[in-house]
Amino acid sequence: MSRIIEKLEILADAAKYDVSCSSSGSNRQNKNKGIGNTGAGICHTYTEDGRCVSLLKILLTNFCIYDCAYCVTRKSNDIKRVAFTVQEVVDLTINFYRRNYIEGLFLSSGIFKNADYTMERLILVAKKLRMDHNFNGYIHLKTIPGASNDLMYEAGLYADRLSVNIEIPIESGLKLLAPEKNRQDMIRPMDYLKQKIMEVKEEKEKFKYTPSFTPAGQSTQMIIGASGETDAQIIKVAQNLYDKFNLKRVYYSGYVPISDDMRLPGIGSAIPFLRENRLYQTDWLMRFYGFKSSELVNEQHPVLDLDIDPKLSWALRNPGFFPVDINNADLHLILRVPGIGLTSAHKIVNARKHGHLDIEQLKKIGVSLNRAKYFIICRGYKQIFCDKPEQLIKSYILNASKSKYSRSNFYQTSLF
């Protein structure tokens, strides 16, 4: 009994740096009065660091033949090594699930023997859950770089989501920090999965009973701030992944210093929280707001502003776009106004059919006027600041807002 607790302690601790915990995107139904279904996208609890817990996220083992500098389970690290048996993982998953602790399992592993051998073990867990226990909850498997296509295919039959981590956004960084790995080994499975997912989708349109294959698609993760990359480089890689491999999500994980390796930021150096946050905001703008990555970061502007969000930053650089007329402009223009989110934008477009909106109504709808007011026209309101210089508007906004990231320096309006 205490043995299994110890294993869980070690193998959950080693898996925690993988930030993905999404459990939505799949629509697996409960079949034949079995256990579980997916699609609810529930976060069952949140850890003290504020991250959601929706899946039982563990490694099958932390034995590993690789020695990647940024990883806690790297071969050269002097830590206790343990391994779950397949049955132990199955029992944990089922029993946690039945008590409504989790939405499913996120299983990854250190690489023991070789890629195929490891991948086979991961598949065995998923297969057992699906076949022996009629488990219809969410399963996210990490695909091991270098595993054969046949195994990837089999994994896709049982899992809702598969992922391969890109780890380091730039290739030179990967070479430096994980010399035994190469980018090609990560890209190849992504490409294979993308092809396969598309094939199955086409087949499904023809034959009703095509078995589903990775219904929640694939995702990946990049470590931020471990290899001196710029935001522009990161975002470019992300856009590429979305465009070329139809990824559902790219996760950005600020590097948590875990090693005194000279190639990496030392222990005690700060985790780039704010940068991570800005990257996610940029990612959202690309996926839901119709922004191109090059609009947000480019050669003239390779680093995201830390003091303001990327949409505001874009707006300040492109004053010609504004003001936007709330009561007449197209949805895609309204989406570009700082302080107006997706929901508010849709509400505005619906509500204005019943009469022109004024500033009070916008406020009630949920628009953040502190930012939006410099960029809009609505009933009875025409902003007078739009021709003011970028720096002035920025200082107005910053002085009127309370950032959750405590700012030490007060922004002073420059007289000249």
């Binding site: 009994m1 299994i4 607790i5 869980l8 302690e9 070690i10 959950a12 601790d13 898996a15 925690k16 740096y17 139904q29 409960n30 009065k33 079995g34 256990i35 579980g36 279904n37 609810a40 529930i42 976060c43 069952h44 609890t45 949140y46 850890t47 003290e48 660091d49 504020g50 991250r51 959601c52 817990v53 039982l56 996220k57 944990l92 029993n95 946690f96 039945r98 008590r99 409504n100 602790y101 009629n134 948590v256 210093p257 985790i271 929280f273 509400k347 619906n350 509500a351 204005r352 059919k353 019943h354 009469g355 909106l357 109504q361 009630k364 709808i365 959750k404």
Partner: protein, 252 residues
Amino acid sequence: MCVIIYDGTWEGWLTLVFEMFEFKVSVTAIYRNEQPLQQDIFVPWKRVTTDKSKAQRVWRGLQLRIPKYAQENLFCAFLSELPQIEATLCSAVCFYFSTVEEGHLAFGRNDVLTIHQTAKMVNRERHRMKAFTRFKKQKNGLYFAVIEPDFNVLPLINEHFMRRYADQRWLIYDTKRDYGIYYNLNLVSEVKLTNETVLLDDMVQLEKDEILYADLWQQYFKSTNIKERKNVRLHVQHVPKRYWKYLTEKSI
């Protein structure tokens, strides 16, 4: 001008809407049976008796006027049990029944927006209860959970739990409203526990593995946390303290 008293049920409220139209009364306030009534001697009051067929006629009428999600929003807002939410609902429904097209999208109006926002609050609570409900397995094989939601969300979560846990008997009990929902492997029914001691943790007959899995879950909760990223504010924002009481991972 009229104050209306009704039985506090959804059908009761629908009946109330029916009578409001039939007798062309304009409503100033609506009270549930058990609510203390603020007697105003200058305003007449009227008691509405729930009538299924009247309720159904109103509901069918609404189904023709607004899409499904807007109908659900009305029900959710109703379950909020907020004071005078019924009056807001009445005002919005009058608007929906007027000649306006897509009245439910008129977010410039206070009643429509209030319903939308209240429904959102209730839905958040619904989602939370899907997340924060923690079953404890009993010796007799029953998975038992106790909750204390802000709003009356049991009617909104029973289907979710029925679909998900189709092969285990379970009972979710709302101690605030003193009723629960019980699934017997076939269907879900409303139950009321007569013996209050059943709810006391130490009186419950836990299955022998229950403590092991609770321990494992607590261990997992601890180990999956990244200490260097500690952010209590965010943690409490997502898991407000009032829910900790029944969360296995927070009750140590």
